[in-house]
Amino acid sequence: MDYSAIYPEIILALFAIALPAVNLLVEDSKFLAGVSLAGVGLSMLAVFMHFYDGVGPAVFDNGLLVLDDFSGLFMMVFLSVAFIVILASAKFIEGEKHAAEYYCLILLATVGMLLVAASTDLFVLYVGIEITSISSYALVAFRKKDIRGTEAATKYFIFGGLSSAFTLFGISLIYGITGTTSFEEVGALVGTLDAYKEMLWLALVMVIVGFGFKVAMVPFHSWAPDVYEGAPTTITAMLAAGSKKMGFVAMFKFFLVAMLAIKADWEIVVAVLAILTMTVGNLAALNQTSIKRMLAYSSIAQAGYILIAVAVGTEFAVTGGIFHILTHAFMKGGAFIVVATLATVAIGEKIADYKGLAKRSNFMAFSMTVLLFSLAGIPPLAGFASKVVLFSSPIQSGVAGAEWMIWLSVAGIINSAISLYYYARVVKYMYVDELEEDAPSEKLKLPKSMMAAVAICVVAVIGIGVFPEFFIQLCRDAATALFA
């Protein structure tokens, strides 16, 4: 068997298992973070080496897992997120108990994401999602004395379990109808199953609901703000930038490989849900007072944008979707880490707590501004570049016949305009408003490792924004691999 396809997963899993053992010898949580970073780095190296060798897609176990342009790109995205989150965590959870378990769970969650990226089979996909989900439940509850965290974890667990059940039910129906769980084989059969149409629709609804929970699609989004707010902020970054994106990978594979033949049946549903999701997310974000909740709703809105790629379903659209997932990982991950960093120096999670921040830390205020403007889609930042590709895809395919799809672009663009309001509001607080009279005004001393994590995100956002060509090519290759 060719194991090279799963080297990244193996490396990461070994490190995850080794961490608690290492903890018996070394108690220092910074050292543990370093070990985890090494694991992530090695795993990245494994992905990189595979493409550096240029031997083409690697296949494991008769094609249950594949390392190709598509999965490779997503692995890099997930690993980058893990890297940034661990880097920021080193300081964030310093002095707390169970650091080894914390990093172990992050690595395991990432293994699950990698499996989802590499999977070509519904069951493997499901297993990957579960590995990530179960690790995440525990991570959200990491601060078990914290009431909000525990509440969030409970909520997350109940919703997550329910959605898994829905997904599994849908998958089993599909298996019952087609007799296979391979995406490709299902895709080949699905157009010929007129006799089982009703059953297939039921399965589709189940899977949409299941995945809908995972990506926080309206109307299955209500868990997200509570969980994002209650979880330790570094974990929130991982949920928003990593595990949520895993849901999109699953959706791409399920809808655009397995269900492509009957696209006409579901595209309008996904399109309506996309518009609903972005609109509800943005409107709800408008009057949030907690920055984490605001970012959570903004995440929901961004999920709506990415759903456009699923609804349109052309190679160009998927390129845009993947590109936006990539940029969003850095923008949103970075924004949450800014929040986490500021929390370590006793700056609260209310938006009003950010008043006059520019005076206390120019770096943080500038970073947050770049990240938020990028989320809003202001050129020349990464979020603008990816939104351009994403929002132009419906117009492009609309020329070819499905004129109604243009409304997806219109909705996306109007929503971007709305979203600017709440992003700009934070920027206004940081730069325009003066510090409160009685508030402390000395310069902030911020942990270096967290600043490094933020800096990586900011550099990525600006770099991708100014030189998007290379990344668009990567995403296009990935999209081509998905449809291959």
Partner: protein, 495 residues
């Protein structure tokens, strides 16, 4: 020509913004840095004026590099006779605005840096030959202006800044949709993706009529909000009243021009048939803006608000000129953009001076200022008279030409916009009477009224000189504009 003069024009404000921003500890150095880095583009643009070959037509000083190949996006700059005066105006006004703001003491380095970022964006808009690049610079302009209003503005600055931001952002998104539509439509004809203005405009006559009508609507909406045209104008008085003086000068002098520049650079050449269908809408909105703006001026008590409304009226004249689709109309419209930029800068600077010295801009509370501030009063009169279109000053030629073109194109419809001439004279002279002449006001502290400082006199003198110079010799500007306007007219299937 070997040096990439247009890229340098963008580069220096960018470097200047960074350098100035880093001068946080030393406001004095920040001011000097801003002065130097705004002077260099001015010199460059003067150099460009002399190097530009007026008779050659087309785009000159072109630069082109592939940027995002997959999407057919180029970094492509070039100027023609329409953009050359605008580039000059931009560099001039930013330079003068920096001088005029010499007494800024609140977060000086940020203020000056923002002025330079603004210059970068505005210059980019006037020089971009790629729709994508055009849009990027268009958006870049928003951010510094938002901060200028919201940090250094008046009491209701927060509201005004957000309103400005939302209005113009929504408009630019509509424009973005329109640009994408052009992009894909051109692809279906050309067979390859490109955002290049020239390549898209070259196939624009082949676009379907319905497509043209719809897309022209989107683009026109985007530009009309920026201009601003009635009924999308409501953000303007708020933004102006709250903005700091230099912000107002650049807002009225440059940002509004971006709207009208967009119409003549993008909307008309890219969608000629659509433009013909929308002609009457343009005419009606233009006339409404002209008359409505003028009527609103008469009722204003705030000097600055009056000037703001007069901008709406005068930008209406630009749109009316464009809507005639004749050579005179288009050329006069562009000239009016230029002249309004000069005049309105004087007017807003004077509003700033009055506010600063007298402590209020409330016209009924002022009076007799000429006795105490003779220099200021002179500049204010020059500004007012130029703005009302006095022959011999720069406002007269374009306004008169637009009205001539209107009569040629639409006949006696001219009677409605021409009323505004009387209204304009009325509100300016009335305002002049109430602020400058008559008995010295007792409602404000006039004891300490001080005439202009050097940093106020210098920009006002330069602008007044140019107002008279270009008023006497309009050909200095028109010789640049006319050949370029012919190209637009050709694309319009012109006469």
């Amino acid at each position: 020509m070997d040096i990439p003069i247009l890229s340098l024009l963008l580069l220096f404000p960018l470097i200047g913004a960074v350098v100035t921003f880093l001068m946080g500890k030393n406001p004095k150095m920040a001011k000097i840095s801003a002065l130097v880095f705004s002077a260099i583009p001015l010199v460059l643009s003067l150099f460009m004026l002399t190097e530009y070959v007026q008779t050659a037509g087309g785009y000159q000083f072109e630069e082109s590099f592939s940027w995002i190949e997959t999407l057919g996006i180029q970094y492509m700059l070039g100027v023609d006779g329409i953009s050359v005066p605008m580039v000059f105006l931009s560099t001039l006004l930013v330079f003068l605005a920096v001088i005029f703001s010499w007494d800024t003491d609140h977060r000086t380095h940020q203020y000056m840096a923002l002025l330079l970022v603004l210059e970068l964006g505005v210059l980019g808009v006037f020089m971009a030959l790629d729709y994508f690049l055009f849009y990027i610079f268009w958006e870049v302009v928003l951010i510094p202006m938002y901060f200028l209003i919201s940090v250094w503005g008046g009491p209701r600055r927060s509201y005004a800044a957000i309103k400005f931001f939302i209005y113009t952002h929504i408009a630019s998104l509509a424009m973005l949709l329109g640009i994408f539509a052009l992009y894909f439509e051109a692809e279906s004809i050309n067979g390859y993706y490109s955002f290049s203005m020239q390549e898209i405009n070259a196939v624009s006559p082949l676009f379907g009529l319905t497509f043209q009508i719809v897309v022209f609507g989107a683009l026109f909406f985007g530009f009309a909000v920026k201009m601003p045209s009635f009924p999308f104008h409501t953000w303007l008085p708020d933004a102006h009243v709250e903005a700091p003086t230099a912000g107002s000068v650049l807002l009225a002098g440059l940002l509004l021009k971006m709207g009208s520049y967009g119409i003549i650079r993008v909307a008309l050449p890219a969608l000629p048939d659509g433009a013909h269908e929308w002609q009457w809408v343009m005419v009606i909105l233009a006339i409404l803006s002209i008359v409505y703006g003028a009527i609103m001026c008469i009722g204003q008590k705030d000097l600055k608000k009056m000037v703001a409304y007069s901008s709406i009226s005068h930008m209406g004249i630009v749109m009316l000129g464009f809507a005639t689709f004749t050579e005179i109309g288009l050329a006069a419209g562009v000239f009016q953009m230029f002249s309004h930029g000069l005049i309105t800068a004087v007017l807003f600077m004077m509003c700033g001076v009055v506010q600063h010295k007298a402590g209020t801009r409330n016209i009924p509370r002022l009076g007799g200022l000429a006795a105490k501030m003779p220099f200021a009063a002179t500049f204010m009169m020059i500004g007012f008279l130029a703005s009302l279109g006095l022959p011999g000053m720069v406002g007269f030629v374009p306004e008169f030409s637009v009205f001539t073109a209107t009569f040629d194109a639409f006949g006696w419809l001219l009677l409605i916009p021409v009323c505004s001439v009387a209204l304009t004279a009325a509100y300016y002279i009335w305002a002049m009477q109430r602020t400058l002449f008559g008995p010295l006001t007792t409602q404000v502290d006039t004891e300490h009224l001080h005439d202009l400082y050097w940093f106020e006199t210098l920009p006002l003198a330069v602008l007044s000189g140019l107002i008279i110079l270009f008023g006497m010799f309009p050909a200095l500007v028109l010789d640049y504009i006319r050949p370029a306007v012919g190209t637009v007219l050709g694309l319009l299937g012109g006469i």
